[in-house]
Amino acid sequence: MQYLLQLLISGLAIGAIYGLIAMGFAVIYKSTGLVNFAQGEMTMITAYIAWTISTTVGGNVVVVAFGAILAAILLGLIIERVVMRPMLGEPVFATVMVTIGLAVILRSAINFIWDAYPHGLDVGMGRDIVRFDGIGVRTGQIAVIATLLALLAAIWAFFRYSKMGIAMRAVAADDRTALLMGISASRVHAMAWAASSVIAGIGGVFFALSYDLSPAMFQLGLKAFPATILGGLDAVLGSGLGGLLIGITENLAGGYLGSDMKEIAGFAMIIVVLMIRPFGMFGERDIERV
């Protein structure tokens, strides 16, 4: 029982990180209609920048957090402006391939700028272990779950009530009509890339806090994929929940079936999900008209 609870809680913690990155996928998909294969790499870069800030400035939490968020916003905006905007109106295949190219560039750039060894991101907190009834939890793990829940609520309110959120939904639903209504689609796209970069970056920083920082972190993007497919590519909140589900599944598979199963549990799950509900649990069914 205790083993199960321990697995569940650490599953929730890693799942919250997947959830954050999956929400990054969903935010971009919802407003631009493309899957950003460079999401994992963007996550990783933000984490590396946070690490650089923490080692040079000395690890003040507030400074690291603000610096990382600012860097993530800049990264998102630059990528959107330089790489993605010129591809507006091209076929989906082409734009998705561009994000793959981007992923390859970013991944190598990280190895090139920093190094290929693992590092620990230390901001003086998040590593202490709290015990509930014999079950050990790191404060960082609690923090990431809380952050995910807070962000879910914030994003729900954003899409529901704010002008920008409604504009993003309008562009996602039908960009031409939205343009006619006076919504600037390019501003919406820029906003989406920046937001996605920040949300996923938060996930990356939390990952670096609880585990460690290494060039293999881009795989977080691949792990968060199943989460966003499970929740629905166009469902931002669903993706967050999908992350929690994938995290738990993975940990249970790892705990009871063996560590190799842990690596592919998520992928096996999405193949099944895609065959039953190709649009995910919370996604909207595409209706094709001829």
């Binding site: 998705v96 391939m97 190598s108 199963m261 992928f267 096996a268």
Partner: protein, 348 residues
């Protein structure tokens, strides 16, 4: 005045090769490739081998992604399955290499049926994601089946001896790769002009219309998967022999991206494009190194220390630049140049 090539009969439309000069140039190229192993040094010869093996794989992916329009991000999965099938049959059970090659084609083809099945319901991005998942699952399966695959330790493979001919030397092995690549080229060109190939292209261009015309989408999509996986598996076996060692690490995920990059750079859906793209992508790092060393020794030093990173950054950059400025690839550029040449001084 000659204003271009016009096709006047259906026969010309499905001809294997458009005009006699192409036969001539192809023959010249083939002759050059046959002489090459005697002329080139070992370093250049290794590039030739890699190009020939990669062409085979790229032509395989071209059937799926280029002809049928199904994006696969998991082709490295078929590559590694082919390599393992060959290594297990030949190195572990000491069967003749020909049977090994047959297995290297058939095993990935069978695996492709499993991946292809979900594709019947999925399109575009979702399919790309399923194939991506497949390539990760296959790696885990290989690592898990230790009794068959030696797990992470891998299997070592010897150069084969087929029908009494030993392919042990580099030159001989180049001929083997050349043979397989040439056969694959002929096979894919013939598939393209056959009923099956035209059905593939119809599915790519508009699957609903294709269905209305009476094309069985399920059967043809699966067929595209199977053919593509068969050819890719053969390339995998050759690559395994080239490396002389088959392990999961020898087939990194980057190869899937590289294969797509080759198709994009060359021109999607064209056999000529697959060949041109391969030559460019394989020689790109080498060419870049030459250019860098030409400019300064310092840049050259940077390139030696971060070679692997710069190499993959170049891939990414080339993919993005081609998609942005020349989406039809090298073949598209070639067509533009040819048209400009024929029509000069007119614009069109």
């Amino acid at each position: 005045m000659r204003t271009g090539d016009y096709k006047q009969t259906y026969g010309e439309l499905v001809a294997l090769i458009e005009s006699p000069p192409i036969w001539l140039w192809s023959a010249v190229l083939l002759l050059a490739l046959i002489v090459a192993p005697y002329v080139l040094n070992a370093y250049a010869l290794s590039f030739l081998m890699i190009i020939l093996i990669t062409v085979t794989g790229a032509l395989g992916l071209n059937i799926l992604t280029g002809y049928t329009g199904l994006i696969s991000l998991g082709h490295v999965g078929f590559l590694v399955t082919g390599a393992y099938a060959y290594a297990i049959l030949v190195a572990k059970y000491h069967l003749p290499p020909l049977i090994g090659f047959l297995g290297a084609g058939l095993v990935p083809a069978l695996a492709s049926l499993i991946v292809g099945a979900p594709s019947l319901r999925l399109k575009g991005l979702y399919l790309a994601i399923t194939t991506l998942a497949f390539s990760f699952i296959i790696n885990t399966v290989i690592l898990e089946m230790r009794w068959l695959t030696n797990g992470a330790r891998g299997l070592s493979v010897q150069r084969p001896e087929i029908l009494g001919i030993s392919f042990d030397s580099d030159a001989a092995f180049t001929y083997l790769c050349l043979g397989v690549a040439t056969l694959t080229l002929f096979a894919t060109l013939n598939i393209r002009r056959s009923r099956v190939g035209r059905a593939f292209v119809a599915i790519r261009d508009n699957d609903t219309a294709a269905r209305v015309m009476g094309i069985n989408l399920h059967a043809y999509k699966l067929l595209a998967f199977v053919t593509s996986a068969f050819i890719t598996g053969l390339a995998g076996a050759l690559y395994g022999i080239y490396l002389s060692f088959v392990s999961v690490e020898g087939f990194p995920f980057l190869l899937s991206i590289e294969a797509l990059a080759i198709l994009i750079v060359g021109g999607l859906g064209s056999a000529l494009g697959a060949v041109l793209g391969t030559v460019l992508i394989v020689l790109l790092p080498e060419a870049a190194r030459l250019v860098f060393s030409f400019f300064s020794a310092q840049l050259d030093a940077v390139f030696t220390t971060g070679a692997q990173e710069l190499k993959s950054m170049l891939y990414g950059l080339v993919i993005i630049l081609f998609l942005r400025f020349q989406p039809r690839g090298l073949v598209g550029a070639w067509h533009d140049i040819r048209r400009a040449w024929v029509n000069w001084p007119l614009r069109y």
